[in-house]
Amino acid sequence: MKPYKVPPIKSSEITPKALFDARRKFMRMAGGAGLAALLPAAAWAGDKLPDIKKSAYNVAEALTPFKDVTQYNNFYEFGTGKDDPAAKAGRMKTRPWTVTVDGAVNKAKVFDIDELLKLAPLEERVYRLRCVEAWSMVVPWVGFSLAELIKRVEPTGNAKFVELVSLHDPAQMPGQKSAVLEWPYREGLRIDEAMHPLTLLTVGLYGEVLPNQNGAPIRIVLPWKYGFKSTKSIVGIRFVEKQPVSSWMKAGPAEYGFYANVNPEVDHPRWSQAKERRIGEFLKRKTLMFNGYADQVGQLYAGMDLQANF
């Protein structure tokens, strides 16, 4: 049997490269335009967020590289290893997504995430991030003050505290199959802490849509508190009269308090908080009171015993 040979193609039948490329470009443009009409402007990790204002909240310290900010995470919903979130958060669906804002407010509302993104102008803020494990980063977050949202729902006189609740879905969040913490992840703030302009409702970092492993699609960032207070992948914001009990307070009441303000003078019972390792640096640096935000937030805690209210 004769081996089959591919018949040669006449050179006249071959599409010239320039034409081929032009057609590809046209298809991309047409497809892109079609998709853009269907989708919101920026929804997926890696997309650039539009119209970001510069803000006055900028720490004049070297930024922690994007790679480290997005590869070294504590997000127990995806596992307790630092590299678990980057490896496993990809499957989390961030659309559709709603945030239920209710409790002691006049205008309780279920916000769609794309509505929240347009609620107030987005601004970039470069904040220090201090983990309770004594390491730290400097991150350019994108978002707006939580106060912008709070004003719109009109808290009543009974709204003394705010409870933040993360997504609970073990199918998407494999770490929730383990009882390492009580799920859903809960955190709490005093209403004046929640209203403080530094409290950032965050939807991005490095000018891009928040990567899943950093708490997409929406999270809180509280730069003067240990990182675990900065609740990720939020689905609920509830205004309450009594001080909420957070997941970490339940997990270790002697080790994790309600306030969790960064304080070099109050050690974690098992390790020192006097110093921290800035990611990327060799020598440890001294930890600053309220993580360097004492001028802005110090008055919130005036007269309080910070040893007792840790």
Partner: protein, 214 residues
């Protein structure tokens, strides 16, 4: 090659003792295997692939292998009692020295990389941090064991005293596991695994001691 490996495994599983030549080969293989973690770390440091916090990574990996080699070392006696393999006991010295080797690297990682000779911080850690209060002496206990691990020291001490001294490996291993247990933030999976294995290894000894005492 495959046949050769099967033959070796079969030989090892059925023989009480291995011929000297085979034992030398097994020892060489264990020596090379034991160095893999440190070579991986060294390569990671060179290639900058130890992640965002390389100091933490080096400290954790060397600590993990210290405990792992301690447990493997402690498995020698129970394995001999349960299986009749006495050749395994002839690997024990090298395994114990690997535990000491990784323990030294772990301690050096803490001293040089983590604290950078900040003696004040180190002293406070030892006094105030329970996991270091128990981990530091556990490391110190390994030093006399490593020093007296050679044949000359065994002869000088005499078998009885040598065996008594080397019982220090028990508090050392317990201290190491407690050190790990107390330092993790919340997820106790790995410390529990080490604790269960250590409890198993110690209970085999306790059982043996009880049977012999009565």
């Amino acid at each position: 090659m495959q046949v050769w490996i099967y033959r070796l495994i079969f030989k090892m599983a059925t023989l009480k003792n291995l011929p000297n030549k085979t034992l030398a080969g097994v020892k060489a293989a264990v020596f090379v295997l034991g160095l893999i973690p440190v070579f991986k770390l060294a390569y990671g440091a060179y290639a900058d692939s130890l992640g965002a916090n390389p100091i933490e990574k080096i400290t954790h990996v060397t600590g993990y292998w210290t405990l792992t080699f301690l447990l493997i070392t402690l498995s020698a006696t129970p394995l001999r009692r349960l299986t009749d393999w006495s050749w395994w006991i002839r690997l024990r010295r090298m395994l114990g020295l690997f535990a000491f080797f990784y323990g030294c690297l772990h301690f050096l990682a803490y001293l040089v990389l983590d604290q950078f000779f900040d003696w004040d911080s180190i002293a406070k850690d030892i006094l105030k941090r329970p996991y270091i209060t128990v981990g530091f002496p556990a490391f110190l206990l390994m030093i006399p064991l490593a020093i007296t691990s050679n044949d000359a020291m065994m002869r000088r001490l005499g078998g009885k005293r040598w065996r008594l001294l080397h019982k220090l490996v028990y508090p050392c291993a317990i201290g190491g596991v407690v050190h790990y247990w107390w330092l993790v933030k919340k997820d106790l999976t790995n410390p529990i695994a080490f604790a269960v294995l250590l409890a198993l290894l110690l209970s085999v000894r306790a059982g043996h001691w009880l049977v012999n005492a009565h």
